[in-house]
């Protein structure tokens, strides 16, 4: 029969259902002693070739995490909203791609979201102690109480994932449902996926599963089918099966060779000097922002666009006098 994906073979500790200090492998802007024994590494595998773009994962993510995304607009594509937001941790991105070899159209649908890098650029770039932690099972989690909303995690992320909330000015992204995984459940998106395009388990199991899928895809003529587990970030705990693993970037700009910006390493050097100097923190942060983002120049247009984003009105605006969605 159709094999139901069992709850992941990740042991849960009923006594301490949430991951805690004992499980922390890395902590932003802090030195930690890694646990003597790592938890089994977990991974979510997203099989792009099985995905029908139904957005059940996106809905499940909103529901489980109790997120209220705004009702937006149509911008001429199926992707909605148009980008990740502080309330949209995962997003289906649709790309119409004509295969130059076959001249056939392919509709590439990729579920975007945090990749949970083994070597997390966000965590390395984060100047706020303990705002980002990595558990020894590989999950990278944001601790909002410690977040200062500086946005460096975005700059540090090779995948451009975290987003800063305008409400509480802290950074948000997929948690890999660390609260569910901690009690032996798979993430909400995996649970909701009707075609098992999303599966979850130990990283080793997921690699084995991917191998089967890649064999099947190769038998169907996808010679370059493969697993996306990029070594530039030490591998990831969210992996993709791609039909065209030789060109990840055709999938809505999935980086071909993601790596952490060298500027983050430079910043890491800086932290050694200022790490304990709390008074110097703001200056250092300002400096890093200058290095990474360049001098602050906010044009009037930027402001307007920001306002519109905040209002949920899309740029570019429709012709004057005919604003969308206005009620009579």
């Amino acid at each position: 029969m159709f094999p139901p994906i069992p709850n992941p073979s990740v042991a849960s500790d009923a006594a301490t259902p949430r991951f805690g200090e004992k499980d922390i492998l890395r902590r932003s802007a802090s030195e930690v002693t890694p646990p003597a024994q790592r938890l089994t590494e977990v991974a979510k595998l997203i099989d792009v070739s099985k995905c029908i773009g139904c957005k059940a994962c996106q809905a499940a993510c909103l529901e489980w995490n109790n997120l209220t995304e705004e009702i937006g607009f149509n911008h001429g594509v199926y992707t909605n909203p148009m980008d990740l937001t502080p309330d949209t941790f995962t997003l289906m991105r649709f790309t119409e791609w004509v295969n130059p070899e076959t001249e056939n159209l392919e509709w590439l649908i990729r579920k975007d979201g945090c990749m949970h890098c083994e070597d997390p650029g966000c965590l390395k770039a984060c100047p706020a102690p303990g705002a980002i932690v990595q558990y020894s099972n590989g999950i990278v989690d944001f601790q909002h109480d410690n977040c200062i909303g500086c946005g460096y995690c975005i700059k540090g992320c090779p995948f451009n994932i975290p987003r800063i909330s305008k409400v509480d000015h802290t950074a948000y992204k997929c948690t890999l449902c660390s609260d569910r995984v901690a009690v032996g459940q798979g993430p909400a998106c995996q649970k909701a996926c009707p075609t098992q395009a999303i599966v979850f388990g130990t990283k080793d199991e997921m690699k084995d599963w991917a191998e089967l899928r890649i064999t099947d895809l190769k038998s169907r003529g996808f010679a370059n089918a493969g697993l996306y587990d990029p070594p530039g970030v030490g591998g990831t705990h969210v992996m993709y099966v791609l039909h065209h693993a030789d060109t990840p970037s055709i999938y809505a700009g999935l980086p071909d060779n993601p790596r952490i910006s060298p500027l983050v390493d430079a910043w890491k050097g800086v932290t050694k000097y200022v790490g304990l100097a709390v008074m110097g923190f703001a200056a250092a942060a300002g400096f890093l922002h200058y290095v990474v983002a360049g001098p602050n120049k906010v044009s009037e247009e930027d402001e307007e666009n920001a306002e519109r984003l905040a209002d949920g009105t899309p740029p570019p605006a429709p012709p004057a006098g005919l604003q969308e969605g206005r009620t009579p």
Binding site: M1, F2, S49, K50, C51, I52, G53, C54, K55, A56, Q58, A59, L62, E63, T68, E69, E70, I71, G72, F73, N74, H75, G76, V77, Y78, N80, P81, E96, V98, N104, L105, E106, W107, I109, P194, T195, Q196, A197, L212, R213, D216, S219, R220, P318, P319, G321, L322, E324, G325, R326, T327, P328
Partner: protein, 813 residues
């Protein structure tokens, strides 16, 4: 579905045509991905748009909407001319060998007996030759030029690949690739499954679209087998239950018929329902019609239905027309012939074509009663929503009463899925506010009406005052009571005629199945096909044992499937003439020398010898039908007819417009664009999106986030030609109305060449309206024509003509 969702995992080839399973049935689609992943099955998608199903297909072929029959007849032609025929199946299990009566003919798109003034056929000649023995004449050698096989060969000869390309716009090489993949499934060890939905039904020849594929599946030997079948994917979680329970003006539960005026008494009614076998030894199971009918009448009228009054036959309405389908009722409403309209769980202002006409009808009612868990456009038809619903409430005198109901998740009951499984469900939450169950509301209305009729009399109070209403709490029958009633029970002890001391059936007990139903008034049963769902062993629909012997995908202990818990209909046909499975690795049932056994409930009397009794036990032939006699209004074979609005004339029958027997109300002709009308040059089609469920989920915030605003889809070529920008506003209009929407400009739609002419497609998703959480939009049915299928009046939503231009968006008043 002839088969079940779970059975799709057994297939080798999935053909999605006339539907978009990944988009509209994402949960069931898991069985397609399962077949692909574990069996290496292939998936073909044939559709006007490269859609979500196509995104995971092995092969995609474009087709113009409304031309499916040409494609399917082309496939049959290919299979016949390339000998891709499972002969050992076709000869004994179809009516290929049956000889058709002299006088029947087909020419230029019409069959014998056409009466243009009536838009109907005199169908007398559409019958078999009957021999001196009283049985249909067959020619096992297939030499007789009038045998069904030779008539079929002749009928499909015109649908050559070039012709298919000319009509459908499918490139010849793409068509041939599909034909080749399909043809491979003519071997006994390879099966193909057909998954279709509204993409086939919502045409003026919808039923014939489906017949076309059914014929192909029979030629390939794919009916009755694991991984095969004709699988209608129902678009609503209980729409299968709706048809099963006969919620149509011309049906009685279990696909029995409401009498017509030509059948004033029971004897006349039964005279055309003898269903005498057309071949020796055949079961012709409808011979039991009387048992099901009488048991139904006993269930309805209890002691008031007696042998003497012909089981209260006079209580049943007698139809003066073919049916009071929704189109007819709205036509009558528009003519001012309807006073009160009860609208239960239905949003016709969106769900039926030509919104302008529908709204005009509703405005002529005296009263409209809405029973719905949600706010609907129909309930608010009188409200001015500016350009989205421009009305003057002062002009509308209709009184509208809204009765809030519970939704499916708030009450108990059963839902029938596409695979005919009756699955019991329990409430997941409490209803809000004053919402009441539909049962409570209907019971309360019934009791009050009954009281009024008792007190005041009336022209014919009997059917109301004598309605059997023996529920514990008459004010609110329970779902259990109703389910038990559907199953049926014994009313009077029945003794063995051979041994009067032996009690066969005991009064008060639940029936174990429809096999126990009797025509002497000793049994009652509300819906014969549901019998077995709630027996003395309890609620079979609530069973949740997912064991699956032989990994066959049958799951016989999970819920209850009608009929008789059978998961694959016609499963006798999974074996050869001697009762051996065609494919031993996919055994379903087999003849063990004395009886039929296996993983499914045999669809044949268990001890019927294999060579004696044919597998299609419902049919008097004992076989399936490639040629359907006079049972369909528009012909015994499918013919390519253009939609009523079409970019080109019918290539194979230039004089025939649309389906020649589809009903068109006189006033509606002028609302159709002419063939090839330059004012409406683009081929429109309407459809659903994964993110939404019909017109419900626009009330839900999350769904509205995922697909917030109305759009139409067009090709890059058309966008360029018309100067339409990606995400820009467009106005789309037909001869009936207009809408404004955003433009999704896509490579997934391509212009097609039809009979030498470039035809652009405009895709119109249907989910928006002027009520709900999502952004306000226009009801898509503003554009669609008021005409339905010739046999069952399903509206032609899939093919109509429009125009489009860039716009600055709706002007909001």
């Amino acid at each position: 579905m002839t088969n079940a969702w779970t059975d799709i995992k057994n297939t080798d080839l999935v053909v999605i045509m006339g539907g978009n399973a990944a988009e509209a049935h994402p949960c069931g689609f898991k069985w397609v991905t399962e077949a692909k992943a574990t069996r290496g099955a292939k998936l073909i998608v044939v559709d006007p748009r490269y859609n979500r199903s196509a995104a995971v297909a092995d092969f995609y072929a474009p087709i113009r909407q409304g031309s499916d029959i040409a494609f399917l007849m082309g496939l049959i032609n290919y299979c016949i001319s390339h000998d891709k025929v499972q002969w050992d199946y076709v000869k004994p299990f179809t009516n290929a060998t049956f000889v058709v009566r002299e006088g029947y003919a087909y020419q230029d798109g019409l069959f014998t007996g056409y009466d243009e003034s009536k838009r109907d056929y005199v169908r007398d000649t559409w019958e078999y030759e009957i021999g001196p023995d009283g049985y249909a004449v067959v020619d096992e050698t297939l030499q007789n030029p009038r045998c069904v096989w030779n008539l079929l060969k002749e009928h499909v000869a015109i649908y050559m690949p070039d012709m298919v390309e000319r009509i459908c716009g499918t490139p010849k090489d793409a068509f041939l690739k599909v034909a080749e993949m399909v043809g491979e499934c003519s071997t006994p060890t390879k099966t193909m499954t057909s998954m279709y939905a509204l993409g086939w039904t919502q045409h003026s020849k919808g039923a014939q679209n489906i017949r076309g594929m059914a014929m192909l599946q029979l030629i390939l030997g794919n009916i009755g087998v694991r991984g095969g079948g004709m699988n209608a994917l129902r678009g609503h979680s209980n729409i299968q239950g709706l048809t099963d329970l006969g919620l149509m003006s011309n049906l009685i539960p279990g696909y029995l018929n409401i009498p017509t005026q030509k059948e004033p008494d029971f004897t006349t009614y039964m005279s055309t329902r003898a269903f005498k076998p057309l071949r020796p030894n055949q079961t012709s199971y409808w011979q039991n019609y009387r048992k099901f009918f009488v048991s139904f009448m006993k269930s309805m009228y209890g002691s008031a239905a007696t042998k003497e009054n012909d089981w209260a036959y006079s209580y049943l309405p007698k139809l003066d027309v073919a049916s009071y389908d929704v189109l007819r009722v709205f036509e009558m409403m528009k003519q001012g012939k309807v006073n009160l309209y009860f609208c239960q769980g239905f949003n016709p202002l969106q769900a039926f074509p030509d919104k302008g006409k529908l709204a005009a009808g509703l405005a002529k009612l005296k009263m409209l009663v809405i029973m719905d868990p949600l706010q609907t456009e129909t309930a608010r038809f009188w409200e001015d929503h500016g350009t989205f619903n421009k009305v003057n409430p002062a002009d509308i005198q209709t009184e509208v009463i809204q009765l809030p109901t519970t939704c499916f998740a708030e009450d108990e009951g059963s839902l029938v899925n596409s695979g005919r499984w009756l699955q019991w469900h329990w409430p997941g939450g409490s209803p809000p506010g004053e919402a009441k169950t539909d049962i409570w509301i209907m019971a309360q209305i019934h009791l009050r009406l009954k009281e009024l009729y008792k007190k005041e009399g009336g022209t014919f109070p009997d059917p109301i005052v004598n309605l059997n209403w023996s529920y514990k709490d008459p004010g609110e029958p329970t779902p259990e009571e109703l389910a038990r009633e559907m199953n049926g029970s014994v009313l009077v002890d029945v003794f063995d005629p051979a041994d009067p001391t032996k009690k066969v059936l005991e009064a008060g007990k639940q029936l174990s199945g429809f096999g126990q139903m009797r025509d002497d008034g000793t049994t009652a049963g509300g819906c014969w096909i549901f019998s077995g769902c709630w027996t003395e062993a309890g609620n079979m629909m609530a069973r949740r044992d997912n064991s699956d012997p032989g990994d066959a995908g049958m799951f016989l202990k999970w819920s209850f499937a009608w009929p008789a818990n059978r998961r694959i209909l016609y499963n006798r046909a999974s074996c050869d003439l001697d009762g051996k499975p065609w494919d031993p690795s996919r055994k379903l049932i087999e003849w063990d020398g004395t009886k039929w056994t296996g993983y499914d409930v045999p669809d044949i009397p268990p001890t019927a010898k294999p060579r004696d009794v044919g597998p299609f036990i419902m049919n008097p032939e004992g076989t399936s039908r490639l040629w359907v006699r006079k049972m369909m209004r528009d012909g015994p074979f499918p013919v390519h007819y253009e939609p009523f609005e079409s970019p080109v004339a019918n290539v194979i029958a230039p004089k025939v417009r649309g389906n020649p027997v589809a009903r068109v109300f006189p006033d509606d002709w002028k609302t159709f664009a002419d063939i090839g009308d330059p004012a409406y040059p683009y081929a429109g089609t309407s459809y659903r999106l994964t993110e939404h469920f019909h017109y419900w989920t626009k009330n839900n915030h999350v769904n509205s986030v995922l697909q917030p605003e109305q759009f139409v889809e067009i090709s890059e070529e058309l966008a360029k030609e018309k100067g339409i920008a990606l995400g820009g506003w467009v106005r789309v209009w037909s001869k009936r109305g207009e809408l404004y929407a955003k433009a999704v400009v896509t490579k997934r739609i391509k212009p097609m060449t039809i009979d030498g002419k470039t035809v652009h497609i405009v895709g119109v998703p249907i989910h928006w309206g002027f009520v709900g959480a999502a952004r306000k939009g226009f009801t898509a049915n503003t554009l669609t024509p008021f005409v339905g299928d010739a046999n069952i009046e399903t509206p032609e939503f899939k093919a109509f003509m429009v125009n489009i231009e860039p716009s600055t968006g709706p002007v909001v008043a």
